[in-house]
Amino acid sequence: MKLWKTILAAAVLSLAAGTSAFAARTDLVIGIALEPPHLDPTAGAAAAIDEVLYANVFEGLTRIGPNGEVLPDLAESWTISDDGKVYTFKLHTGVKFHDGTDFDASDVKFSLDRARADNSVNAQKGLFAAIDTVDVVDPATVKVTLKNPQGSFLYNMGWGDAVIVAPESADTNKEKPIGTGPFKFQSWAKGSSITLVKSDTYWGTPASLDKAEFRIVPDAAAYVPALLSGDIQAFPFFDADSVAQVKDDPRFKVVIGSTEGETILSINNKKPPFDKLQVRQAISYALDRKAIIDGASAGLGLPIGSHMSPASKDYVDLTGRYPHDVAKAKELLKEAGLENGFKATLKLPPPAYARLGGEIIASQLRDVGIDLEIIPVEWAQWLDQVFTKKDYDLTIVSHTEPNDIDIYSRKDYYFNYDNPAFDKVIADLGVTSDEAKRKELLGQAQKILADDAVVGFLFELPKVGVWDAKLQGLWENAPIQANDLTKVKWSE
């Protein structure tokens, strides 16, 4: 075996010699897990659309920066009226869409009106719910009037769903996206890859890369071979489970960042016996977060005790609320009259964190007498059965939308959680703009959720990026699911 390896390695070296020396590259192949269903960010929820197009092909009035901050984009600057209801955006001039048409205020009005129209298929219509009117003041100025003040409006305008499209190309963006960004769309080999090339007419700093190919690699198991064979140079969203295989390899850089993905063991709060607080608390005591994080995210996730990212300034550390305590869990179950344990189902969507975490959680809950039947489901089934029909006991999912603690107050949300006290906190939050006050209210909200053990809080999904060590400028964190290539370049 040893000898073989030597001989083969020698053969390989001679073969590889021809390709080893090359100048600084200007092309990049990026691996993404899911193929976008189409290429119009304003007409679909799929994160994969943003992963390819956001900031690269399409731009909005504002954009989200690498650390979740709001930055100006097509809007050079803006002013906000004192009552917080009128936003006046000053736009960049000389901006062209990739098809050569000019960008101006009318495109903004078109895009925003289109997104909030009754027949709109925008997946995030809520982003635009506060808008009352959009007015073109002059070609470089647009005025947006809100129905009521909204603290997150500028942030909302930075979402992929709020990018500016041209009326000429809006209907064909699904197939042939036309935006204003530094890259223009070149080709889409369905099921295989999407290729972008540098736009020559970009209004801002041109990109360093000439060509970027997003290659679709659906199976996490293929990530490592693809990296090792050099086929793909970057996986911005790598599979945490596979990290151990490349972390000691000097050719690659492993970057752990944060996301807005609170990974939770969702509980159907209305379904007996989960309607009993003791049962839910028992589950929280039974969970051993360390083991779960080690097993389901290669030890990279940050533990959470409530629904808030540890990276958030409003984060309250509640991870000590339910320490791992099997005896306590059993005691609580006994109080709930379930000293002999019970059976329940655990529906798991496809991501690795869910499938892996589910197996560990099932094993941990078995230790306290809860016997879980694992039912793996596809996303379609998950959305149908769990999310829409609420036909489930337990499930694991990562809620990746930022600042989404309000979901617990939504009526009919799939948790089936109903606590007027919590709803009041969220309602107050909606009308509060004072930062300190907001922080306090958010703290309260987090605490209520933890006390009620609404769900099992597990960990903040790590954003694991693995790329060629010579590659620079890729985002470390994932405030939103995007691969901003504007600053990416090869060193050397």
């Binding site: 489970d241 151990a244 295989q245 560990i360 094993s363 694992i374 039912i375 793996p376």
Partner: protein, 289 residues
């Protein structure tokens, strides 16, 4: 295509003696027996509890404590391979049972009736054959949800036409025999003849096909559970172990090697057994795949 069935003219003893001189049979028999034994032992004893996750011990290389190493959850791979055998065998065996139970009577009936009934049944058979098996199995599990039971049904359904075809071809080769004519002249009904004369004479053919389908069933189950559509955790299955191993190939190749070997050895054993039986019992019978 005509099917020759040479009916052996031997006693049980002489067959047994011949069996133990047939290398393929002996090898296949021993391997199959070992795998079966492993599965049976796993009910009572395994080196470690396969439902117990010990994350701290994850991806340990093979050692004296863990002969086959441990997986990404710190479970003992030897124990998982043992319990996985149980799953693979159960799925494949029941699927073969379904195929035989439905397919053989159908095939025998078609051969006995002939004419339109035969034609209709065989066209129905063609219909099932026209569906890509693996794809359809995926569809079935997608509809009814993944799990061992649905995997069995999905594999079993596609065994039916195989056995129907083999049984029919075998029965068609038996029906023109004079001893069938003699039985008809004695006033026996076609059902009686099928049971008394036809089935015993195509039994070896079915036995051989059974071992082949058994082996194919093991492979199919591995494929389905590799896609996550087979038995669900905590029940270990070889296919899923291979799937899970993929994300650890560089650091823990043993996670892929041992379950893979288990599949290869089991399938090899069954195929050898089938070959051996075919050789011993009717050296000229043609098997259909």
């Amino acid at each position: 295509m005509t099917l020759h069935i040479d009916i052996p003219e031997e006693t049980f003893g002489s067959i047994l003696a011949k069996a133990f001189r047939n290398t393929a049979f002996v090898a296949g028999f021993v391997i199959t027996l070992l795998i079966l034994a492993m599965a049976v032992v796993s009910y009572g004893w395994t080196p470690y509890d396969v439902t117990k996750l010990v994350i701290a011990d994850k991806t340990q290389a093979p050692s004296l404590a863990h002969w086959f190493g441990t997986d990404h959850f710190g479970r003992d791979i030897l124990s998982m391979v043992m319990v996985g055998a149980r799953n693979s065998i159960a799925v494949a065996l029941v699927a073969v049972g379904i195929g035989m139970g439905v397919g053989v009577p159908l095939g025998a009936f078609a051969a006995a009736r002939g004419g339109l009934v035969d034609e209709a049944l065989m066209r129905l058979n063609d219909l099932v054959f026209a569906f890509p098996a693996l794809l359809s199995a995926i569809m079935i599990t997608a509809i009814f949800g993944p799990g061992a039971v649905n995997a069995i049904i999905a594999i079993g359904i596609f065994n039916i036409p195989v056995f129907a075809r083999v049984a029919r071809a075998g029965a068609l080769a038996i029906w023109p025999r004079e001893f069938i004519l003699a039985a008809r002249a004695a006033g026996k009904s076609s059902t009686q003849i099928s049971i008394e004369h036809v089935l015993p004479n195509i039994a070896t053919l079915l036995l051989v096909q059974g071992t082949i389908q058994f082996a194919l069933g093991i492979l199919a189950e591995a494929g389905l559970s590799y896609l996550g559509l087979g038995a669900q955790p905590p029940m270990p299955s070889w296919g899923r172990m291979l799937f899970e191993a993929q994300t650890h190939m560089v650091v823990a190749p043993w996670m892929a090697i041992f379950p893979g070997m288990a599949i290869v050895v089991t399938v090899l054993g069954l195929n050898l057994l089938g070959d051996g039986i075919a050789d011993i019992l009717d050296p000229k019978s043609r098997r259909q795949r």
